[in-house]
Amino acid sequence: MNIVVCLKQVPDTETQIKIGPDNKSIVTDDIKWVINPYDEFGVEEALQLKEKFGGEVTVVGMGPKRVTESIRTALAMGADKGILITDDALEGSDSLATAKALAAVLKDLEYDLIFTGQRGVDDDMGVVGPALAELLGIPNLSLIVKVEAAEDGKSVKVNRPVEGETLVIESSLPALITAQKGLNEPRYASLPGIMKAKKKPLEEKTLGDLGLDAAQFGEGARKLKILEMTPPPERAAGKIVEGETPQEKAAELAKLLHEEAKVF
């Protein structure tokens, strides 16, 4: 079973995010970059399926050179090869453009399954997976927490939680699965794995290599424009109700709830 995992590099969830002076982007200076956690579930699931059925796991990423670090981490976990789509013209691409670039790589690969995360934890769009399935003309199985492949490796049964119930879906292959939290517990990159990853192939491709038109990518080609980024409002400080006696305090509290908080 050949599996492709699409991987996005995102800021570590513990990073303090600061909005840039243009109010439309974040300051990237102090950011620690990691594999998008939902994509990591995809890597783990792909590795488990490979252990059972054999085949190859290919990791495809897109973005600046630093993304190779995340691809290497996936290789250290056990994936077989990596591809990085990197091109200055990609800077500022939206989800649809990303899906198009990934589709261009995937059309030359043999695959039975594709994993993406259900969304990136950075901008929470959740579009790339379904868009990619659409572009490739294969079934899209979103928000999956369990994957069972048939013994012959020709179909999958997957679980999606819906309103506290479980929807079980069966699909022929090839198909695309977007991974949801709960799918698995990703393994660590072991030290032997890290040393082996050094020798695994990691190919870089530009838009030109993929036969794509640069005009369809980047900031200028965005279908969605970011107008403004604002930080969440700061929590206001609490208030201590003044008063000599409990009765006085209760009266003051009731007054504040009515006049200031306007809860009744």
Binding site: Q16, D30, T68, E69, R72, T73, A76, Y188, A189, S190, L191, P192, G193, I194, M195, A197, K198, A237
Partner: protein
Amino acid sequence: MAENKIFAGGEFLITDIAPEEVFTPEDFTDEHKMILETAKDFVEKEIVPNIDDLEEKNPELVGSLLAKAGELGLLGTDVPEEFGGLGLDKVSTTIVAEGMGPAASFGVVYGAHTGIGSLPIVYFGNEEQKAKYLPKLASGEWCGAYCLTEPGAGTDALNAKTKAVLSDDGKHYILNGEKMFITNAGWADTFIVYAKVDGEQFTGFIVEKDFPGVSTGKEEKKMGMHGSSTRPVILEDAQVPVENVLFEVGKGHKIAFNILNIGRWKLGASAVGGCKACVTEAVKYANGRLQFKVPISSFGMIKTKLADMAIKTYMSDSMMYRLAGMFDNKLAVLDVAAKKSGEENAKTIEEYAPECSITKVYGSEALDYCVDEYVQILGGYGFCAEYPAERYYRDSRINRIWEGTNEINRMLVPGTMMRRALQGRLNLLPAAQAISKELMTYSPLSVQLPDTPLALQEHMVKMSKKIALMVAGVAAQKFGQNLAKEQEVLAKVAEIVIEIFAMESGLLRTLKIIEKEGEEKAKYQIKAVKAYVNDMVPQMENWAKEVIAYVEEGDMLRTQLAGIKKLARYQPIDAITLKREIADRIIELESYPF
């Protein structure tokens, strides 16, 4: 290649070293970075959630975590590939040790197992011994321990009473004696035991727990590291097969002291991991704790604490990886045969004995400083076991005692360097003589510094080296062979030398960042070096004067003090602002900032 220059141990005191000649954490390869992530992840996900259980001394849990660490390769960085390890460089080993820093008692289990428990076999075992023991130790199936200390032989390790006598049939050594304070004793499978053959020849043995006559005593009740096992190991007519003699009969001291050298620097590396965790935990608390309606991190005295913790950590971090790089450069030129030779390994490790002592003392004291301020920043909560600060505080204390007390290590720094000077291995004496000549014409007022960000600090590091050489020279001249008995003098010289290595490591690392990435990227590192040198120069001058005042009198005293004053001439800079700026950065990032 310049960056692979091999330095002699202690050479930093007499040589100007270029930034590209030291290894720094900024030089990590992608693999190094991933190894650090794996070690940190392991500690965060497997150890930290289990700390309460581990503190109860849970052998099953320790065993399973050790096996898990083994599976990830964390126990095999020093073990050659053909024996189930990874045979990685010393930088990788240092990285794993640092990662284990915040692992509480498990860090001790790990440190004793991979360091003193396994390395004697790695460096001094024969091929059969390596094949028999290393795969099990590297996988974590077996746990290792090290038995040097005895009730009457602590710092004076060679005074061991444990005796080994060859059995009548010549097949076994019969060991009798008692070893004290043995880490991992309660769950170890192998013990590296030192005993004197026929009461004379100090020798290392590999002893398995199931050999007849081997047992352990009662667990010690300790101040800290509650999750580690510390017991006496009792040898009563213990039968150790002759093939388990490690290295050669009568050469145990070569194993013992060189393994301790490595243990010292690994301890320092692990302390760095602890320091970084303290800074991060302390600032998180300080940002969240309100007093007088503002976070306590907005107070100047809290800022000074955060900055001083981070600055010392930065120096310590820079020292550990610099030393790792020095080892790697030296090991890189050994051929396969040399790597298998106990003599060659001993020689290589011994080279950096002074630096190993320096990093041990500095690393353990930086950690003690950090845990103390961590508790202080948390106030009453820092004293309560509900917060980790209390455990950090107790756990840290042992580091100044084991792996050679900081006192014996302080003696060893100038002691070893001066012995090498007398042997002609290290050119301290000509350098010291040159300074007294130079002093006659040297005028600090005529010094012209270039317009570079750390020119003054580079100059003061150079001057500090001269101060160290001058003081050591004066003391050596006065006491000659008896200098070893002048512990107070040696200790002051050691302080100066240790701080020189600290300042210089931080300085060279920062200069390297400036060279590679520009001044802006090194902004806070520059502030750290400036503030640290500003703190240290007056201290050094003081230590030097104390020695001179003890050694000299009359005109000589006045002349020498004038010399020190010239060398240490320095106009203080505004370190309060520097530390505030560093603290603001820590507060903004809510973590160790470098």
